[in-house]
Symmetry: C2
Subunit: 144 residues, 2 copies
DNA sequence: TGGAAAGATGATTTTTTTATCAAGATATTG
DNA sequence: CAATATCTTGATAAAAAAATCATCTTTCCA
């Protein structure tokens, strides 16, 4: 569903979001705590910085910070630099146009999946994910 | 969403389903009519045959036929030989367990996407796709 | 001002996916 | 039984994705 790279990007940003907004977070630290290969995360972070999601500072005390509040970052913003949106929404039958008016055979069925996915990316904020990640397992009384 | 290979498999089976149940369909013919690379479709067809979705016969008059009626084939049956189901349902945070009881931060949000996708694969029959593909654009009066 | 701490960058490698090629095995038909 | 049509198989190649490596630049601070 999500590509490996997109997943890594989300994990990294969630981690950063959880560290508070004061100090920049080190690439190395992100790698260690998210289980993403160190060198690879550097590229991803750089791309995210280029994309305006992160800001980076070098030297001692440097690292990565969110470019804007987590509430204003959608998961879609995070993954778009790494995913081909056209490819994601393409028709599985290779039709150039595949719309409600000119549907392929799978159109009505597949549409629900695409819609769910697009909604997931468009509506879910980084903050929402970072918060519930912190809260941990659901807030019911412990079993047993 | 769907991998290229899964897409090809679905296209091929839809095409076969549309050719009626009498005569086997040639690999070559499938390739031509679905836009799938000829040599590649052969492998896919072979895998589908191994997977019990198709039967194949060689020699003159040979080709591929559905192993059972299109109504009894789910899209999930078609793509499972080509997709890693575990991978599809894995947690984007790499957690071993990621359930309603032990959710990752994205769990509730991502779940809807997974559910939609799994439902698409589990519920949609080959027949449904093959039929609506045949019917073409939706059945309203022509515009204009 | 020079050394260490960061990120930035470009080249390279590895792995996976997609695609092609060529030579087989089997069935039909005349 | 020979020729042809078909699928089968294994080797290989090309492309894309994921991962690594080495080197560079910037920044801080003693």
């Amino acid at each position: 569903m999500l590509t490996t790279t997109s997943e890594y990007a989300i994990r990294a940003l969630v981690y950063i979001a959880q560290q508070g907004e004061d100090e920049p977070v080190l690439a190395r630290e992100i790698a260690t705590n998210t289980g993403v290969p160190g060198n690879y995360i550097s590229k991803i972070l750089r791309d995210l910085a280029h994309g305006g999601i992160l800001t980076s500072t070098r030297g001692v005390g440097g690292g990565f910070k969110l470019a804007r509040p987590a509430k204003q970052i959608k998961l879609g913003d995070i993954v778009t630099p790494f995913e081909n949106v056209a490819h994601r929404n393409r028709c599985p039958f290779g039709n150039d146009v595949c719309s409600d008016d000119h549907p392929c055979g799978a159109h009505t069925h597949y549409k629900t999946v695409k819609n769910a996915y697009n909604k997931f990316l468009d509506k879910t904020t980084l903050q929402a994910v970072a918060q519930s990640q912190l809260r941990g397992p659901k807030k019911t009384r412990k079993k047993k």
